[in-house]
Symmetry: D2
Subunit: 351 residues, 4 copies
């Protein structure tokens, strides 16, 4: 690793940096290059280079990293083709596979949930989403049915044969959700919630990690790194729109970052066109853009009668519109020679 040192630099500061290197199992030596005598620090060794880089960037004496010698966090690709495949029931994400997740923003009652689950499965969804605890901006807005919603999700999952992905907001909720939940969703507001990410790393179940509203690609990847660092590699990243300066759409679907992530990380990347659009009539084109740019799946909100939805009604697709999205997705995935995950012919309750 080659670092540019701050100029001027006093010997004590340099010592502090060198000690930090040694503490992590590296040797450091100063190189003086060029006629103007620019000082670089070369660091070599067999330690954990990603950790070293992260630690060194905190030191004021280090002005910049010239060459990182391939220091590589766990989320980054080892080679151009390295891809992690995450399987949840019939849903397969990554490695040339893409899956569709559908369901209501929040679970409201048994009948509508069952109706939705059957419809999204028929359209080609292999996972059922549904909010039990809804994080809302206002404490007075509908916050979800909580434990009742979890019970409904469990019943409907068993009945229809679709594993469940639902949002988790606190580490202390993990245990109570393990039975019902085949995949834990971490919402945008919690992307940087380190204690939650660490516990999900330990829990070992697949994680659907949504990008924070103003998170850079690197911050997004480092949030996933918290999960991987605990030994859980089953993480699916989800781009759901970043905060923008306009209100033509609710958020700005950042397809460029999807493309960037696909080249950078081996983890699967999916797109949530519903939160990006914030209005039902733009969900379908954004879903198409997400698949065309290379996403490994979609997460789409659906409600049989959007006018009755208790949250995010403006962006919920009706059941027919959802089927159109599924059909577009299948077409585009197959055009690429990729595989669209199908619900198996038999009901397959998740373990």
């Amino acid at each position: 690793m080659l670092l540019r040192l701050r100029d001027p630099l006093n010997p004590a500061d340099l010592d502090a940096v060198c000690s930090a290197c040694e503490g992590l199992g590296f040797r450091a030596r100063v190189l003086t290059v060029g006629e103007r005598s620019v000082q670089l620090l070369e660091v070599e060794g067999d330690g954990d280079a990603a950790r070293l880089k992260s630690v060194l960037e905190d030191y004021l004496a280090v002005a910049g990293v010239v060459d990182d010698a391939g220091a590589r966090e766990l989320v980054l690709k080892a080679g151009a083709d390295s891809e992690t495949v995450v399987r949840v029931g019939d849903a397969v994400f990554g490695g040339g596979h893409a899956a569709l997740i559908g369901g209501p923003c929040s679970v409201q009652d048994a009948d509508s949930l069952l109706e939705i689950a059957r419809a999204v499965r028929a359209a080609g969804a292999t996972l059922l989403r549904g909010g039990a605890h809804k994080p809302r901006s206002s404490p007075y807005a509908f916050q979800g049915l909580g434990a009742d919603a979890l019970r409904l999700l469990g019943d409907v999952s068993a009945e229809v044969g679709l594993p469940v992905v639902t949002e988790i907001m606190e580490p202390s909720d993990i245990d109570g959700m393990l039975d019902v939940c085949a995949m834990f969703q971490v919402g945008s507001r919690n992307m940087a919630n380190a204690p939650l990410l660490r516990e999900l790393g330990k829990a070992g179940k697949p994680v659907l990690l949504k990008r924070g509203m103003a998170a850079t690609a690197r911050e997004f990847l480092l949030a996933a790194e918290y999960v991987l660092a605990e030994g859980n590699e089953r993480v699916v990243l989800c781009e759901r729109g970043i905060r923008g300066f306009d209100n033509a759409t609710r958020n700005v679907l950042d397809v460029g970052t999807v493309a960037y992530l696909k080249r950078t990380t081996h983890l699967p990347v999916i797109v949530d066109p519903s939160h990006a659009a914030g209005r039902a009539d733009l969900v379908r084109p954004l879903a198409r853009a997400g698949i065309a740019v290379g996403a490994d799946g979609l997460l789409v909100e659906v409600h049989p009668r959007p006018l009755e939805a208790r949250s995010d009604a403006r962006q919920a697709l009706g059941l027919d519109a959802f089927a159109d999205v599924a059909s577009d997705m299948r077409l585009l995935i197959e055009l690429d020679g990729r595989h669209f995950s199908q619900p198996s012919s038999q009901k397959t309750p998740t373990p």
Copy 2:
């Protein structure tokens, strides 16, 4: 039109608003509604409602527009299917047609321009782009060859049979460019340059209008309105990425706004994946996303040997990579049942 009046409101302020309405051929009357006596202003008449709305929004006494009664600028759709088709040589934008524009960021020499023009035509491009005057952030960066570049563009256009689109930066340049230029490009930095837009409205030639780096969809549409208000409806809008908070990509390709614009305006909308990506390896996926979301064309930068490009080298596609983009585009356009504009078999120099 129904307006909410400011509360409290003094009679003189109300008079000023009513006079403004009458001056534009409308009658205004105050409605007092509800138990709390909220005051609304109803405005009726046969005048230019878009102008009225624009004028009224400037008055402090008007707190908001409750119902605009369909006041509609020229750029807005009259009905769901209204679409303006813009033709430039063989290139057709809108109404189910999409066209591909290719060429170098800036024109450097006759040989490379000819090589590029032949290659992009062979790949399926129907318009040749090429910068003569380059607006650069730094006064010391390469600013384009100017008049020499225009001459080269004219020669190559005639030789290869591809009409030229190139950037215009000042009203006083219009006349000198009319011969060579089949379509005038207005760059992001000039999106809100009202004198330039008005003169292009008068000139009557097709205009390729790029979205400003931080322009809202409405500001973008109003910029086009300057051209249409002068009687020129041949405007193609171009989304090229908005300024974001990250540097994973140079700009954030705002596909949501493309989808929004396609539902809002009858003008064609194309996408520039090169400036959005800012790096060659992400141009192709962004081009795909742009077409899949519904864009009526692409504007792509190309250079036979990107390492030699004098500007924007990082984002230029090589000739083979351009052919891949063209092939993806054709496939996606045809999948939609849309028409991909083809260069006619004979050379067709633009008039």
Copy 3:
């Protein structure tokens, strides 16, 4: 309250909205106004109007709020002069009082913490900040000393006589921190962590709530509303810079929102110039701007030898520079006829 109804609207949707109103203790009736027959819904009653408004905004049948009849969340001012005063030891925030908080980004060892605490108290700080659990972007960066840091903070607080404010990241940590912590800080990453905010509302101790990196003023206020809704009004808001598109400063100190909040909420508002600047040489001017715009206090990071700081070293002020900030602050506060909180002459261990 006066709402604009969606057009067209079917009777069932209208019924759903009216039922929701009745469920919250309101009566609703439709008003048809103007020649074009625009439909408005008037809602009257003695229920909780803020809750009603929040619920109604979720319904798709409601196109907008024309007049909210003063529906008012708990965080909003009742009158122009309503100001909540939050006292923590000698520190007084709001109501014409301003206080200075100083301390290290993260607690590293007993000696430097004691040195810092003495110096910031001598300069005029009335609260000691210090991170025990540090939320970092990378799992490999220094995460704070945890329980050891809490113990050191408790010891130094008692020794020097400065109450402690430190960051809390999980509801389950509250109990263990009650002894040491006189004020709980909620960091930017957790601004929208509803479970944490609710528990802090119940705990009753003063809360220092930092604005999320891309939170609107309204979202920031609604986050505070979660705490107030549980009965705890002792909340101090802290603007610490929002995410911007440039890297001249680490974040963009949004003084306009400070001015806006001071007119909107009765809660005190302070400024953190350290995280906004991200570099020590810009902290002092930003501190001055924060006080001049009307903030009720400052939160400033300090380290006796910034080169040794384990986190955020680039933005830590040395002890002399901190004294300069304190002196500027005192001058500006007194120029306004406001009161600068002083550490009392005797040591005042926190209760």
Copy 4:
């Protein structure tokens, strides 16, 4: 200068870079450093280093600048104390002097303009602003009185003894405005209008350059560099708020960038709190923040009866409120030991 070369790199690409260096009067040689053999390019010589750096950054073969050896554009400070003082009549900007500019957004009629000019002069303004050509988002909004406004500005300037600053939108307008206009304002929409900036550089009159809505500090400085590169150093930079994601204020006043610019450039920097706030009640606190952070002046919109203003009525201060801003500004400037520019006792028509 020390550059990091791209890896891998072929000899032809390296030759192209070396030739570019030689063409600008520099020698280049490759240094191979460290055990991993990282390749750096050292460039030495007496040429124009700022131009060299700008040119080299365009080459794809250059991966980054490790050390720029102090390559310095004309706008940058030579030393910590270097400050350019710009004088326009009695107004002095920079070098410890600050001046206040006041006037209407757009000139509407002789009487109100005279009333405003007298009032702002009495309050302490030394320059009169007033729009003749107004760049508006909509072509239907009031666009200013044009030549009539210029005539009125000339008359009132002579009558009251305040030089005029007004916006210029096209190079071809310069000549016709030279008589009336003591200082040319370049609006946000035109910050990157290179032809306009170059002509203003040649015209030699003082320039008030407003920051573009989404311009980085570096882009802002490079826009000024276009003027300085033509030999005109009399440029005053104006921060007027950047585009943000919220609408609590119209724009986000970026005081951090003001502080950054004051440390980076020798040019004076002023603040426009009116466009930043977008609402009259927040102008005064933002004006205070601007001066406290170190700005060398203020540009404030004023109207005797804001309800009658034809543009930007929401942000215009009444005459009394303007006097309050002036009084705050004077106090804060004098607190710093700086000089507040006073209108001289006699009328001083601009030269």
